[in-house]
């Protein structure tokens, strides 16, 4: 099961009506690498993630995880197969505490989740692991706080802890720093670097300094199609990229 690429997409496409949000995307994510996907708003990055995790059904193409075709699996099965994601829009269980949030993920794939006649004490043994995961992202002091009462940066950290609870081989992160202030971006970047050790990470990110510091390889998406691919130096010097994307960003800065 040690294929060179942990995740591959072949000819991946998705149509909404007559509009191709993603078209002919061929993607290879090398095992153990951090691979970034960038592109202007509406380029189709989130749609790509939704296709890869089968949240959306692809119109064309196939998805290969660890050498196996997962194109026909359910979203929940994709997670069980070792690929987990985070969402662009903050996705915590708002009325539950941070500890409970992580513990939900720890119950995944276990028979305990269906035991409606058992007291909560029966899963108390998961608390130790849940606390470890919270500590890992610096949330040990917020374990008992409802997710809705956490600061924005802490919510995103909680999401990462929840995703990590699945111990995924492949992790898809959709704009983990979106909407964050400067003071939060640095720690979350370090956190991603830390948790990506021993895993394969595909990350959508707008902040180019985060992209340049984290990623081994970058795919640029524009209007649903791949514009180019390479390392940061190659991509950032590409004329078309500068015109389509980077130029725009630099203007904005």
């Amino acid at each position: 099961m040690t294929t060179e690429y942990a995740l591959e997409a072949r000819g991946l496409g998705r149509k909404f009506g007559a509009f191709w949000a993603v078209k002919d995307v061929d993607l290879k994510v090398r095992r153990g690498s951090i691979h970034a996907m960038i592109g202007p708003n509406g380029a189709g990055k989130t749609t790509c993630f939704n296709l890869l995790t089968k949240t959306l059904q692809p119109s064309t193409g196939s998805i290969i995880l660890n050498g196996e075709d997962i194109s026909r699996l359910r979203t929940s099965d994709v997670a069980t197969q070792g690929m987990a994601r985070s969402f662009q829009i903050s996705a915590t269980f708002t009325q539950m505490t941070a500890l409970e949030n992580v513990r939900v993920a720890l119950q995944a794939g276990k028979g305990t989740a269906y035991r409606f006649w058992r007291p909560l004490g029966s899963i108390a043994h998961l608390n130790t692991r849940a606390m470890e995961l919270l500590e890992n992202v610096g949330l040990q002091d917020s374990a008992g706080v409802a997710a809705s009462d956490l600061s924005y940066g802490k919510k995103r950290a909680l999401e990462i802890a929840t995703t990590l609870a699945l111990d995924p081989q492949v992790m898809l992160l959709d704009e983990p720093t979106a909407g964050m202030g400067h003071e939060d971006i640095e720690p979350i970047t370090e956190l991603i670097r830390k948790v990506s050790v021993g895993r394969t990470v595909l990350i959508v990110e707008h902040n180019l300094s985060v992209v340049s510091s984290l990623s081994d390889r970058i795919t640029v998406l524009q209007a649903g199609q791949i514009l180019t691919e390479g390392n940061y130096a190659e991509v950032s010097s590409d004329e078309r990229v500068i015109a389509a994307y980077m130029g725009g960003v630099e203007d904005a800065l």
Partner: protein, 309 residues
């Protein structure tokens, strides 16, 4: 503190039939169970079932039919009716559970209307006249509990059992997944769960407990009528839950008690009961968005935080 409160509650519950008409108390208890079963779905899974009365009414007829035509003891009749109700809940869930929000509500509503129609047409229900003369058969086939005050204690014990069952479900590993689905279903799915399975099981449990309430109610009144299956009851249980506080454990119980008590008080004034319900609903929506118990809890937390500094 908590234990003292519970003990006080138990003492009051035991003494009440000496001061209040037992039938009224038993009606309240049946609706306490019924509203709590509804709140299990709305408050803890985020599913608005606008047809909860189908479980209440169908079970009332089934329990009544069993008690009238067979010699089974009362607890068997009630459990059998609850089981059939749970199966109906599972079937409705199977069809409806992929939909959310208003669509889910409408599908459950359609099912309830269908059940109403079936029961209206069936012979065994007595149609418009309802089913009369349901006996209070002996408990376990030997203990005579037919006297009103004795029967009250039986209903009280059954209520405690049902409420404990709901408490268990909410505070279980399964219950945690339900709450997670309520908060963010897509996220639960992305973590590797099949939310629809959890929702179907929750529907079965909720329907089973609602059916338990209906069967109990049939033995309290000793008759079953189409009113129990009607959409006004499905609506009333929403009002009870919102009034008490959805997603709070005790809220629906308080709401049920308040509405049944009020209906009883206002019954002599005819339409006034309905008007009062309307006014209460408006007041709750405007001023008590978390319901009586929800607002009280929020107030209590605010005061405690202030005292802490």
């Amino acid at each position: 503190m908590r234990i003292a409160l519970v003990l006080l509650g138990v003492a009051i519950a035991l003494a009440l039939p000496f001061f209040v008409y037992p039938i009224l108390l038993m009606t309240i208890l049946c609706f306490v169970i019924f509203a709590s079963s509804f709140n299990l779905l709305l408050g803890y899974v985020g599913l608005l079932c606008f047809g909860q009365a189908m479980f209440l009414g169908l079970s009332a007829y089934i329990a009544g039919y069993l008690l009238k035509t067979t010699g089974v003891s009362i607890e068997i009749a009630i459990l059998a009716a609850a089981l059939v109700s749970a199966l109906l809940g599972g079937f409705v869930g199977f069809v409806a559970v992929r939909r959310t929000g208003i669509q889910f509500a409408m599908i459950t509503f359609a099912f309830a209307q269908f059940v109403y129609f079936m029961l209206l047409q069936s012979e065994f229900t007595g149609g418009e006249d309802g089913m009369q003369g349901i006996p209070r058969s002996d408990l376990f086939g030997v203990v005579d509990i037919s006297d009103s005050r004795t029967f009250y204690y039986f209903v009280l014990a059954m209520t405690a059992l049902a409420i404990f069952a709901i408490y268990r479900v909410i505070h279980s590993p399964f219950g945690e997944i339900l709450k997670a689905i309520r908060d963010n279903e897509a996220r639960v799915e992305s973590l590797g769960f099949r939310p629809e399975r959890f929702k179907i099981i929750a529907m079965m449990i909720s329907a089973g407990i609602a059916g338990f309430a209906g069967a109990l109610k049939a033995t309290v009144f000793q008759f079953a009528t189409l009113t129990d299956v009607s959409w006004t009851v499905s609506g009333e249980v929403i009002l009870m839950t919102l009034l008490g506080g959805m997603g709070t454990f005790t809220g629906p119980m308080v709401g049920a008690a308040a509405i049944i008590f009020l209906n009883d008080e206002l019954a002599q004034f005819g339409e006034w009961a309905l008007i009062a319900q309307g006014v209460i609903l408006i007041l709750v929506i405007l001023f008590l968005r978390r319901g009586v118990v929800g607002e009280a809890g929020a107030l209590w937390r605010r005061m405690r935080n202030r005292n802490k500094g």
